[in-house]
């Protein structure tokens, strides 16, 4: 049957269009929403590749939590308009050049790619919550526990960085006081 490939192609087109939307839209809010589209399309492909748990995490954590965080920041900072022409216009061409070189490398590597024989495992039980948990809590227990430390550090750091500091007008007033 052709159904898996059809699903893949539809999701791939959505993902690529979303990716183009991320880098091409003028307003950050559209970039964020395009990225949500990319993530949802990718989550369907994850499901096709028998990664059920990663699919759920992708939808809940990524498309749900992380992107809502981005949306909150966009709402907090207000509509930011990006200048059409920057001071460093050559960066644009440099970016295209880097992308072309990098894309050429990736393409040639994909062309010469030889796949190793897969392990003899039933794919219908692959990537279930039980299997993921068995991996995370036995072989990869220490990395998993370190992950919680990483999240704690990130949370504390975010609170520290975003605590009430001086605003721009306060700094200006202080400088005026110093001058006076």
């Amino acid at each position: 049957m052709i159904v898996p490939q059809l699903v893949f192609w539809v999701m791939a087109v959505i993902a690529v269009l979303g990716g183009v939307g991320v880098i091409a839209s003028r307003q950050p809010i559209r970039s964020v929403l395009s990225l949500v589209a990319v993530m949802l399309a990718l989550s369907v492909i994850f499901l096709e590749l028998s990664a059920q748990f990663v699919f759920a995490v992708q939808v809940i954590v990524y498309a749900g939590a992380v992107m809502v965080l981005f949306l909150f920041v966009v709402a907090l900072l207000g509509p930011l308009r990006e200048r059409a022409t920057g001071r460093l216009r050559f960066q644009w061409w440099l970016g295209i050049l880097v992308a072309l070189v990098f894309g050429g490398f990736l393409y040639s590597m994909l062309n010469g790619l030889r796949f190793r024989a897969p392990a003899n495992v039933d794919l219908s039980f692959f990537g279930t919550v039980q299997q993921i948990a068995a991996g995370l809590f036995t072989t990869y227990l220490y990395p998993f526990e370190l992950t919680s430390l990483l999240l704690l550090v990130a949370a504390v750091g975010a609170i520290y960085l975003s605590r009430g500091g001086r605003t721009a007008s306060e700094i200006q007033r202080e400088e005026e006081d110093r001058r006076a």
Partner: protein, 112 residues
């Protein structure tokens, strides 16, 4: 020699090269975004796009090799990406509180 690149999916198969190509394309789009965009917020979004492309590659190889470690690694990447987004956005909000930035090139105080 059989083609090991065909991943069985439901009733059919999916060529791993196609999925890896999609991952490469999304990664390159993210790279272009980081290089040519000027809004720091959009640059962070493009980094998330690149991380997602890497995740897709990891999960493709996990399915092709029937090796679960790729999926576990993808989960770790997601955690690191979440931490990165939280800290990056906090720094960004902190910068924006002091001044309006519509171009990351304006943030050159550390240049001396």
């Amino acid at each position: 020699m059989p083609d090991y690149g065909q991943i069985p999916v439901g009733t059919g198969t999916l060529d791993a090269r196609l999925v890896l190509g999609l991952g490469a394309l999304l990664f390159i789009l993210g790279t272009i975004g980081v290089l040519i965009r000027r809004n720091p917020l959009v640059i962070l979004i493009c980094i998330e796009l690149m991380l997602n492309a890497v995740n897709l590659t990891l999960i493709t190889f996990a399915a092709q090799l029937r090796n679960l470690e790729g999926q576990l690694f993808a989960l770790m990447t997601m955690t690191v990406a979440a931490a990165e987004a939280v800290v990056g956005l906090a720094i960004l909000v902190d910068i924006f509180r002091v001044r309006d930035v519509d171009d990351v090139d304006e943030l050159s105080e550390l240049k001396g």
